[in-house]
Symmetry: C2
Subunit: 213 residues, 2 copies
Amino acid sequence: MTATDTRTRLVLTAMQLFRDKGYNSTSVADVLHSAGLNSGSLYHFFPGKQDLLLAVLDAYHGGIGPLLLEPAWQGVSDPIERVFALLAAYRRALATSECGYACPIGSLALELHEPDRAVRERLAANFTAWIQAVQDCLEDAGARLPRDINRRELAAFVLTTMEGAVMQARTYRELASFDAAVRQLRDYFQRLQRAAAPRRGRVRKSSSRRKRS
Amino acid sequence: MTATDTRTRLVLTAMQLFRDKGYNSTSVADVLHSAGLNSGSLYHFFPGKQDLLLAVLDAYHGGIGPLLLEPAWQGVSDPIERVFALLAAYRRALATSECGYACPIGSLALELHEPDRAVRERLAANFTAWIQAVQDCLEDAGARLPRDINRRELAAFVLTTMEGAVMQARTYRELASFDAAVRQLRDYFQRLQRAAAPRRGRVRKSSSRRKRS
DNA sequence: GTCTATACCCTGATAGAC
DNA sequence: GTCTATCAGGGTATAGAC
């Protein structure tokens, strides 16, 4: 058990607890107990609880690619379908938690009411990386979306939808709330694609019309 | 100072503090200090802190009409514009708080990770009343929206947008994030209205085309 | 109904042996 | 680097006088 192992264990444990119980409702003792460690270890690596939070936020940021996007995009190459595959990953998280899941970043963003600059910057960085990934998809979609649609704003709107949808599904404890929101977003995308398609052929590229809504 | 005054003062004070600092970060002592009361008064009216929260949630529920919708809809009669006037009210709340504002219901929904049934029901009731108000607008819009669009789902999607947009504006501390989301929703609505309009005359009812984006 | 005083627990964090 | 023991403060809630 090297030093990095202990540090990593603390971060991973805190990640889980902050996600499941929230930051304020997770005590340092909770983290130590779950990690099977003692007070001295934590304060050896971190000056205080908030610094543990910073490490957790950095871990989320680093994990967006390998732990979120890559699994979600397994076998999905169509850029627009990737956007909805990402949303489907959140749906799975809701489904396997009886709708107890909440986006950990979004939850922290609302739970921490006067966060330090360092915390806020990391929350924002997580959102930005998520939005950028979706924006890349939208740019890959090229002419399938109207030229005058701002890709970044639309990508941010996908995040907006995900966060709002997760919030409602969690509150109602019903997957249907999430599905309804995604259905609306899908409808919006379909209208955008229809508007971008050449006037004559209705919806071009039948390969872009697939399963899912 | 009658009994109800004290109780009301407690609820109003708690409303403000829970909104500004969150539930867990607001101590009973905070509430008592801000209300200028002592411990005995609070526990005379409420068995505990959580019961105060229930009263706060009931107050929000009761206030949706007079404190949220009516001010937001002052001088706005067009049902679709009312939807966006409601969003504009949230924009004002963000603007006057340097983007520190967060929807109190949404924040509680994410902050409280294992809420009692009573709490969850009241959170859901608040969302439901909000959605219903928007749904009423959408139904008033009648044929201006496509027939096959589910009014309730679209209304819930407006809530989704508001919550996600407030969350991002708060995280980035930038009104622009909120505006971008509303712009996307507006675009979606315009496409819906265009799809609902008779083929010949482009957008019918020039009275429905007004200021605002 | 409202006050003061206080019980009792859990919090984040520290000290110092090993 | 990790342990045990502990501190000082704040948390919710209660007791009982007025």
